[in-house]
């Protein structure tokens, strides 16, 4: 028997108690003794928060009426939300009210029948168990032989715990499976990454270029709002996407590119800008290095040559390049966010970075501005012990430009009895649906590990593999660290509990502190309540917890300029101190010093590129069980071009399965026959096809794209996963 059977946490949990009840109060609309009260006519109260439905962290207020949850709205003074939350943020109460939430700590036990199951245990029993195992791993191997796999803001408490314990390894899919290639591509070029929220100045742009980025379907609030503001002021939009995405439908130029040929297009655009003399010569002379080499390098990428690769008419390539140049430097070639696509993504991001440099848009109004955060002192604590090893062990000399752990590499380094890692703490990341096509490796790692602890709010698939499941309360029931994101100017935001934690759930800071104390790490957790830390920090910058509990957000004036000051020298944090169009660092490591186009593999006959993306109503699988958002989008659909549908006799609205060349079969997914996708690919939103039965709303609805991923290429620069290299064909459901 496997050491860990996948447990479904079934038949354990009682009926829910949450949910809004009927309200008293009087109505101004229909007065009378049996009045139907108007919303908001009762006793009202509000508490500030910042959202955890995605990582954008918009500040808002949680409203209650007569002591019952009512709604969440944006905080008008907040830069991230501008007073408006997105679909998911507005639906945040659903995460609190979700009947399927984890409720009590769970411990894996083996019954007298030899079968494994979860047993509800007290917090003391669960925490003692975890601390005992961590002590044993520390004694047998050393504390550095553990890893933290995490996502989300609440992970900070567990990062603190694990570093105090002596663990040096952590990884989040947000790096190698998402924005890592982009950030490293920009670091190699400008010496800095883009931050979050990104430093894009779209509200001031005159031309915005999206490379496969589907802002609008991807609902990062500030991105949507600033893109919309730019468009409202007349900015022209250029969208590169094989699919007629939402921004494609708003575009002056839509470039329906063949999948995987973006680098060819980017090089052709450089070719046009350089050969037609349209680039920003003064900016390039002053701030960049390697222009001569770049100019020679792009000569072979003429629009005519690139047409054969991308399927884009040469005149369309030229016209769009001229549009960019016309509006420069207020032209933003958007760096995107999820960029782990083809395995050469850092180089594609370099190409985007270089294109912005040719247009002179980095550091310029309407391009990429200079971010500012708040100099917020850290709460005084002892230094962490120096870990004996860190995540670099897992990389084994690969991925020289990775600046943090690569999740898939940490998984590999956890497989087998001789594996480096012996224990995992998993916080807020559902690895089985997050990592592409590596179910067997993940399974093997989990079977090898001596301890798997999962902290989560929901019974996501990963909880089924845990020894111990620690149920965290939702963001609406807890304090977390202050939000201090570098942005258009500095600002702080407070997340505080609007409600008492439901069931026996606990805040992350409490769980981390309890574990820390059991591990003898009291000195790292000197507070009784985490609000003491926040109050201390706020008082260092002239505010207080009391003030922030009213305001929610405090804004700080800028200390420096938002854009480059004309005539003043700029020092970039690259080895040359300049923007590196040609990268000596890459050349020295044996990589292409300038981006080179490599033709992607094309699908075999009868197969199609599997393209995936987002839908605005969900943050992947994190929200698909949210009872409010579920009503908006209960399942994903498979977008198929009518020509393809006709060829395979597929009917709109019926269900089909997909199979990849390795034979992996998806769950059934409903067909959406639409012209909005081309005849060489199919498209689905990510986050569906849940296999955890305890996610009662979303279980069994839609298909999971990540399970279908095969042929995944790894970026040799930083370990990113190429997730768009997969092919699928149709398997029709039996009638």
């Amino acid at each position: 028997m496997k050491r860990r059977e996948f447990l479904k946490i079934s038949g354990l949990l009682g009926a829910g108690t949450a949910g809004a009840g009927l309200l008293g109060g009087c109505s101004t609309l229909f007065p009378g003794p049996d009045a139907y009260p108007a919303p908001g006519s009762g006793k009202l109260s509000q508490t500030p928060t910042f959202c955890d439905m995605c990582f954008w962290k918009c500040a808002g207020f949680v409203h209650q009426e007569n002591g019952k949850p009512w709604k969440i709205t944006g905080n008008d003074t907040d830069l991230h939300s501008e007073g408006r939350l997105c679909t998911r943020g507005t639906g945040g109460l659903g995460s609190f009210e979700d009947r399927d939430r984890l409720r009590r700590p769970l411990l894996r036990v083996t019954g007298s029948d030899g079968r494994q199951r979860f047993k509800e245990v007290s917090w003391d029993e669960a925490l003692d168990f975890v601390a005992g195992k961590l002590k044993k791993i520390a004694a047998d191997y050393g504390p550095d032989r553990t890893a933290l796999l995490n996502h989300g803001y609440g992970a900070r408490h567990f990062s603190h715990l694990m570093r105090a314990y002596g663990c040096g390894s952590s990884a989040e899919p947000a790096f190698a499976q998402c924005r890592g290639p982009r950030d490293i591509g920009f670091v190699l070029t400008y010496g800095e990454d883009l931050g979050s929220p990104e430093r894009t100045d779209m509200e001031n742009s005159r031309c915005i270029v999206l490379i496969g980025s589907h802002i609008g379907e991807n609902l990062h609030n500030g991105q949507v709002q600033t893109l919309s503001a730019g468009l409202a002021k007349g900015a022209s939009l250029i969208t590169v996407d094989p699919r007629f995405s939402v921004p494609a439908s708003k575009s002056k130029y839509w470039l329906p590119i063949k999948p995987g040929t973006d680098i060819a297009l980017l090089l052709a655009w450089m070719h046009v800008l350089i050969n037609e003399g349209l680039y920003d010569k003064e900016y390039v002379d002053r701030h960049t290095t390697g222009f001569g080499q770049l100019s020679a390098h792009v000569q072979r990428y003429s629009p005519e040559w690139v047409f054969l690769e991308t399927g884009l008419e040469p005149e369309l390539i030229r016209a769009s390049a001229r549009e960019m140049a016309k509006c420069a430097p207020a032209t933003l070639v958007h760096p995107g966010r999820h960029t782990a696509w083809w395995g050469d993504d850092t180089q594609r991001s370099r190409a985007i970075a270089i294109l912005n440099a040719l247009l002179g848009s980095w550091g310029r109004k309407g391009g990429l501005y200079i971010q500012e955060g708040v100099a917020l002192p850290k709460y005084p604590l002892p230094d962490y012990p120096e870990p004996k090893s860190d995540w670099q062990v897992a990389h084994a000399g690969r991925y020289p430009f990775a600046d943090q752990g690569v999740t898939t590499a940490l998984v590999e380094a956890s497989i087998g009895s001789q594996a480096h890692y012996k224990g995992w703490l998993v916080y807020g990341t559902n690895l089985p649906t997050t990592l592409p096509g590596i179910a067997p490796q993940l399974r093997a790692a989990i079977d090898s590990l001596e301890l798997v602890v999962v902290v989560d709010t929901m019974p996501a698939e990963i909880t089924g593999y845990a020894d111990v499941v620690l149920p965290e309360c939702t963001y609406l029931e807890r304090y977390d660290d202050l939000r201090n994101s570098a942005e258009r100017h500095g600002s702080l935001a407070l997340r505080m509990p609007a409600f008492e934690p439901l069931y026996e759930t606990k805040p992350g800071w409490w769980i981390a502190k309890q574990l820390g104390e059991r591990l003898g790490l009291q000195k790292y957790f000197p507070w009784k309540d985490y609000s003491e830390v926040l109050d201390w920090q706020l008082k260092q910058v002239g505010s207080s917890l009391e003030e922030m509990q009213k305001l929610g957000v405090k804004n700080f004036p800028r200390r420096g300029p938002k854009y480059f000051v004309e005539g003043q020298p700029v020092q970039f944090a690259t080895p040359s101190g300049k923007i590196e169009l040609y990268s000596q660092q890459l050349a020295e490591r044996g990589f292409d010093p300038m981006p080179v186009y490599h033709r992607p593999e094309r699908p075999p006959a009868g197969y199609y590129h599997l393209n995936y993306g987002r839908m605005p109503s969900h943050t992947f699988g994190k929200t698909t069980n949210n009872p409010l958002l579920f009503q908006l989008a209960p399942e994903n659909t498979l977008w198929v071009n009518p020509l393809v549908a006709a060829e395979h006799a597929l009917l709109n609205g019926t269900y089909v399965r997909l199979r990849n060349p390795e034979g992996t079969l998806s769950d059934p997914i409903r067909l959406r026959v639409t012209e909005r996708v081309g005849p060489d690919s199919v498209f689905m939103a990510h986050g569906f096809g849940h296999r955890s039965r305890r996610l009662r709303l979303t279980y069994g609805l839609g298909a999971d794209d990540s399970a279908l991923m095969s042929n995944v290429k790894t970026d040799p620069l930083m370990g990113g996963s190429g997730m768009r290299t997969s092919f699928v064909t149709f398997v029709k459901e039996e009638a």
């Binding site: 309200l23 609030n221 409010l628």
Partner: protein
């Protein structure tokens, strides 16, 4: 008479559904029902395409067939305005209004036994606030106000932009306008 209108810029609308969720939470709309919805209309053949997103709801018609067809007086115009409301105490659930509505904007059936619909968030309008959907829209594509007031944003937009309304041929005089 107060002439309220909603003006929605289809060139900015992304069809995200935030308006739907904001309405549901603001108005405590029961599970499975919604008072507004998003329509996507795509035309053309790949790659020559256009797509329009529209957030739709009750049009609060100046000539409201639902009001005229209601046998009990439950459907009515609110306080000398074009805002159409249903008084739950007078509604028998006969569905005459549903048959009369060209926009299919009425919900069958609130669990308390009446026909529910968009109110233009009249409880917010009374306080000088925009409807919940308008106030949350992340693209700022939705606008609300009095058409009687020439300086209002809605009046300005209808003066300066091309627009359409839905099913105007019915003569219902709808008051949700779409900028194109």
């Amino acid at each position: 008479m107060s002439h309220y209108a909603m003006v929605i810029d289809t060139r900015l609308c992304i069809g995200c559904g935030d308006c739907v969720i904001a309405c549901k939470t603001e108005n405590k709309v029961p599970e499975g029902l919604n008072r507004d919805w998003v329509v996507e209309a795509t035309s053309g053949t790949y790659p020559h395409l256009s797509t329009e997103f529209r957030s739709e709801r009750c049009n609060h018609c100046s000539h409201a067939t639902c009001v005229y067809q209601c046998p009990t007086g439950a459907s009515h115009h609110w306080r000398d305005s074009n805002i159409v409301l249903v008084d739950p105490r007078k509604c028998t659930g006969c569905k005459a209004c549903i048959a009369a509505c060209p926009y299919d904007a009425r919900l069958v059936m609130h669990p308390d036994g009446y026909i529910d619909k968009c109110t233009f968030c009249v409880h917010r309008v009374e306080q000088g606030l925009d409807p919940a959907c308008v106030s949350t829209c992340p693209t700022h594509c939705m606008h609300f106000g009095l058409l009687d007031d020439p300086s209002s944003r809605v009046a300005q937009l209808l003066r300066t932009r091309n627009y359409k309304a839905l099913a105007e041929e019915t003569g219902n005089q709808p008051n949700v306008f779409y900028l194109t």
